[in-house]
Structure formats: C-alpha cells, structure tokens
Amino acid sequence: MSDVILDIRGLEKSFGALKATDGVTLDLRRGEIHALIGPNGAGKSTLIKQITGEIRQDAGTVSFEGQAIDALDPAARARLGLARSFQVSSIVPEFTALENTMLAVLGAGGGVFRFLRPALADRGLTDPARFHLEQAGLALRERVPASALSHGERRRLEIAMALAMRPRAFLLDEPMAGMGAEGAKDLTVILSDLRGEAPILLVEHDMDAVFALADRISVLVYGRIIATGSVEEIRANPEVRRTYLGEDA
Amino acid sequence: MMLLSEQVLNGLQYGMTLFLMAAGLTLVFGVMGLINLAHGSLYMLGAFACAWVAGATGSFALGLIASLSAAAAAGALVEVVVIRRLYARDHLEQVLATFALILVFSEGARWVFGSFPLYLTLPSALSGAVMLPGGLQYPLFRLAIIGVGVAVAVGLWLLISRTRLGIRIRAGEADREMVAALGVDIARLYTAVFALGAALAGLAGALVGTIQSVQVGMGEPVLILAFVVIVIGGIGSIKGAFVAALLVGLTDALGKALLPSLFARVMEVSAANGIGTALGSMLIYILMAGVLIWRPQGLYGARA
C-alpha cells in the first residue's frame, strides 16, 4: 500500500475570468501534516472544497486511497473518511455542543435511518462525542446551545466535530483562527498527536503553528503551487518571504 | 393570425397587470424578506379607497391619490404596530401575523363598505378602445396599465439597484443588526419601504380594480399570483419579476386560447374544452414547478 493517501492532480477551477486553482498538484501522505499556505484569495479554500466535492473542478482528478473520487458527492466522500473543518464555523446553532458533535459521530458511524430509539440515550453516539468535546476543551460547555457559544468556543467545536468523524484524512481550513493564544497552543499539541491517526492537510495563516507542526509546506499563490518543501526550505524561499510573509529581511 | 397576435398582446398586457400587482410585493418580500400575506388586503384597500373617493368626488385622479395614500398609511401603521416586532422572529410567525391581518382587513372593509361590490369605473378620458396599427382594436385603459407597469418596473429597478436607499435596504435584508451598527436607521427605513410597497399594492388595486370588480376578497387570488410571479423571476430581482410576469401572462393567455382547440383535434369538442380548460388553469403552476425544478433559484435569483 502506497503512502500517498490523498492525491490531487492538475486541479483547475475558474470563476469567470478568475482562475481560483490553476493546475494544482499536491499529495498528502500517511502520518504527515502537510501545510498549505498562501495569500488571501490564493485559492486554498477553493481547493479544499474541490477535494470535498462541494465545488466541481473544471479539470484534474482527486484520488483518495488510490481510488478516484471525482464522481462522488460530498456526503459520499465524507463517508469514505475525508473530514473537513470550515474556515467560518459551520455548526447547527440550535443544537447543543454535544448534539453537534453527536451529529459528526452519527455521520461517520452510519445508521442514520433509525427512528425509534432516542439519540441522547444512545451511548454509541454520546460517548465518543463527549470524548472529543473534552479533547477540544469544551467539556464544560456540552449542554450549551451552539448559538450561545463565543466565537472561540465555536472554533473549538468545529475541531471537536472534525475529530469526531474519526476520518482517514483531515482537511483543516484555518483551525487556529479565533482560538486565542491559549487555544492555539492547545490545538498545536492536539494536531501534532493526531497526525499518527490520520494525515492532515492544514490550511493556516498562523505561521507559528505552521512552522511548529508541518512536515511539508506547499505555497499556493493565485491558483498555482509555487513551492513545496520542508519548513526550512520554505522559510528560506525568497519569493515566499516577499509575497506571503511580507518580510523584507 | 389576427387572433393569435391579439392573444399575444393580451398575454403581454395581462403580464403587465400581474407585474403591477406583484411590484409592491417584490419590494417587501423580495428585498425586505418579509412574507406579507396581507399584500392582497392592501391591494383591496387601494381599490376600495379609490372607488369610494372617486364615487364621492367624481374624480378618478383623486381616487388614485386616495388609494396611494390610504394604502401607504395602512402599510406604515401595520409595520409599526405589528411587523416591526416580528423581524427578529421566525419567518413563520410573520405568516401567522399577516394571515391575521387579512381577516382584520377583509372583515373591516366589509364593515365599512358593506358586502356588495363597489362601483369603480374608468375615467372617460381613458375609456373605450383605440385602433392599433395593424387594425387591432384595443382598450385604452389597458394600454395605460401597461404604461404604468413599465414605469413602476423601471422606477423600482433604479431605486433598488442604483440608489443608496436601495443598497441599504438590501444590506438590511442581509444583516439588519450590522446595518444599524453602521449608522443606518433601519427601523425608519423599513417603515418607509413597507409603506412604499403598500402604496404600490394600493395603486395596483385601484388600477386593476377599475377593470375588474371591487369587492371583499378581491385580494386573495392576486396574492397567490403575485407570489408565483416573484418566485419564478427569482426573489429580490425586479428584472426577474418583470420577465416572469410577462411569461406567466403569455402562458396563461395562450394556454387558454389554444389548449382547447389543440385538444379538440384529438377528441370530441366538449371533452376537449373541459380538459383544455382544466389544464389551462394549471398551466401557470406547471410553469412555476417546471422553472423551479430546472432552476431552483428562479430565473434571475442569486444562488444561495
């Protein structure tokens, strides 16, 4: 079995005249955190959406564990084991934190069409959900409706839900955003441990986190990957420093 | 051939009437995002006000002014007393509230004006038929309605897409709280918009009521048709409502005119009449379902 879990080849997507992704080729390997960085509007989120199937690419293919998944809809891809987090928290506002997380467990575990047994009494859902809430630092907030969570708490919930899907690959779109300094620190530890469980494609603007976590970094600029390499290589890349990091030195 | 061209004209004309009836609703529903079932009641109110004032003074122009002002005033009142408290709530509670308003308006109108239809007839300057180029006779007043419809369409489109007021209204629909936090008095803005929508409903009531009948309950069929038009066009799009109104008008007119004879080719006349007419009544709903299944966001609606 090859080490490449997710293989993206020549993805293209245009919005009118704008090429949001322009021939992106990229892979994600077992056990790694592959960070994807790039300026705002470079096409990172668009790339994630093409991997999850929310947006259909104009050209190129995505394969997951050796199988082309271009024909599958988002739900089918999620069931194969592709979990994503959203750049803007996407939660069910009237559900409690626990119910939100249960939803993720339910989606991953299947058995949606069961009509009679109360879900809240279903240990198969609640136990894993509680576990992942705890992991994301929300154990004390499980009964709070998601609409009453603060921004940072919602970001944590987003993480809990991604974890609860127990996927075979993570696609995380700016998980650090809004977490606060403390949250970012905690999350760095969580993600670092997680890569053993499933590889992570990490889109992030928090360079401290990226440099601390990434095994490999790819830089996406206006739809094209301009560089891929180790933390040191990317840090030293003058073009990255100029266009992205904005450092003169 | 003559018949067909007359029917096409009828269809376009009917479409314009529909647009006029839907115009106020586009503003309130499409742009403000409020499901106002009482739109038909405001339409009725405009017709009653016009009939009453025109009857008392003998002047159709005064009647029109009365319909505009009565409907606008009623709209503003309704917005301040009822609607305003519901923006923050579930859309469905707006449905219930405006349903209650229908009852109040309808029976209130019956209480004030009685149970019998009112007299409202064309001003003499606009009555009778004119000869169109090509030898077609056409009622003058219907041409006037077309004119008003076009004017309202253009005016509304400019208001919504070109003025700052329009931008603010749309922004308010997207995020009320945020618009207010940027310094826009959204409450007053919405009262004004609602009153404007109501005034347009009242104007339509007066104009269309003139060639139809002015009576309690006249607003109900209008309500559904107006919603059909807006939804086919795509919510929030004036252009969409305009195109959809013409499309619905044409479909309805040509369906009614042609279907029975089409069926008569394959079956006996009276059966063909029955089926043709039944299908004719369904036609605009078939059109709507078809359009929405093909384009779930309507012809010109933004994809959500």
Binding site: F15, I37, G38, P39, N40, G41, A42, S45, Q87, V88, A148, L149, S150, H151, G152, E153, R156, E174, A177, G178, M179, G180, A181, E182, G183, A184, K185, H205, M207, T243, Y244, L245, G246, E247 | R164, I167, R168, R170, A171, E173, A174, D175, E177, M178, V179, A180, A181, L182, G183, V184, D185, I186, A187, G236, A302
Partner: protein
C-alpha cells in the same frame, strides 16, 4: 487628554444568561486600548453593548459626553463609533462597492483611500461579498468601518484569517490611524502585535474587568494568569 469612551460597571445578559458582570474601561482621544481575555470571557459582548447591538442591564456607557445606554444602535454609530465585527459580517449578496457605500459618511476616508489601503478590494469592486475569500472579506469589513469615518474604531479580531503580509499591513495601518488621532479599541490574539501598538490594556475574565493598566505593565506573569500564554 480627554476621555472619549467610558464604561463603568457594565452588566449585560443574553436573555436569562448573564454574560457581563461589571466591565469598566476607558478610551481616550487618540489612544489605542487593547481588550484581552480568554475565549468566552466577554470581549465581544462588551463590544456589542458599546455599539448598542445588545442592551446593557446596568452600569454606564458614555461616548463623547453622550450617555449611550438608551440610544439605538444607529445613533451610536452616527456619533462616531465604527465597528469591525467578529466574524466579518459583510453583506453577502452585495458587491464590494455596495458594501462600502452602505455606510459611507463624508470625511477623510473615501473609496479611493480605502482601496489604496487594500488594493485587492479595489480589484474586486464588482464582485459579491459572498464569493470573496476569507481574508478579502476581512479587509472589506475593515474598509467598511473606515468608510463611516469614525472617531473610535473598534476592531474585534480584525486580523483573523489574514495572511501574514496583509496582517503586517493592517498593523501598520492601525499605527497610522493612531498617528492621525483616531481612537481604537482592539481585540486580537497576537500579544506581540498588540504590545507594539496599544497604549493600555484591559483584561476580562468571566465578564468582569480583572486588570487594567498600561500595556507596558502586562507582564508575562499577568499574561500567563489571565490569557493562558
């Protein structure tokens, strides 16, 4: 220096759930104040009460000598409070240009100046906000607040989701705005950047002001205790 904004013992609640238990803070003319605290401690709630997006249940809020406590939201904005809200809240169906036009009030900031600050927005004036990238939306939110030409600019995590280079630009812009005499109330997670620009800091914990003082006095010990870093 005169006080522009003053909060005293402000309390506020979301329905039955109290969120603020006594917040006090002050912002002077041409001063930058940082509002800090862990997730869920009441920073955003404080900002929302200042902007009158939610009612305060007690205390005092005075802006430019006017008691804000009973004023509607749009009055507060008209008095000169400009908000970049948490989560951007750009008007999704409107174009970039329209987003900017909604709020525009006469003053030094106009379309030309904000697009000079964020050239990317200038390129996308006709695009609807819904389709902007996250960072672009953030720029738009800041530009929109500037278009109101506020006396006090409130930034609630305004650099979230921005690429490092843009973030540098925004911090530079904040410094420039400060130079021009604008008062700023600032929430952000980057202690390093805040330290460089803020004059004073106020720290919240469970809806209460637990510390306030000069930025320079925020020691590692204080940061560790109240912010977890």
């Amino acid at each position: 220096m005169s006080r522009l904004l003053e909060l005293e013992a402000v309390t506020a609640a979301y329905g039955p759930v109290q969120a603020l238990f006594g917040v006090g803070l002050g912002v002077d003319e041409a001063e930058v104040v940082a509002l800090m605290g862990r997730n869920g401690m009441g920073k955003t709630t404080t900002v929302r009460t200042i902007c009158r997006m939610m009612p305060a249940t007690g205390g005092r809020i005075v802006f430019a000598g006017v008691d804000l406590l009973r004023l509607p939201s749009h009055r507060a904005a008209q008095l000169g409070i400009g908000l970049v809200p948490e989560g951007r809240r750009t008007f999704a169906p409107l174009t970039v240009a329209e987003n900017l036009a909604v709020a525009a009030r006469p003053g030094a900031w106009d379309l030309g100046r904000v697009t000079a600050l964020f050239p990317r927005l200038g390129e996308r004036l006709g695009q609807t906000a819904r389709t902007l990238s996250g960072g672009e939306q953030q720029m738009l939110a800041i530009a929109r607040a500037l278009m109101t030409n506020p006396r006090l600019l409130i930034l609630d995590e305004a650099t979230e989701g921005l690429a490092p280079s843009v973030r540098h630009e925004i911090w530079a812009a904040i410094r420039a705005l400060k130079q021009q005499g604008l008062s700023i109330l600032l929430i952000d997670k980057s202690l390093k950047e805040i330290s460089a620009v803020a004059d004073r800091a106020v720290i919240l914990e469970r809806g209460e002001t637990v510390w306030s003082g000069a930025m320079a006095d925020v020691t590692t010990q204080i940061a560790d205790r109240h912010l977890g870093v």
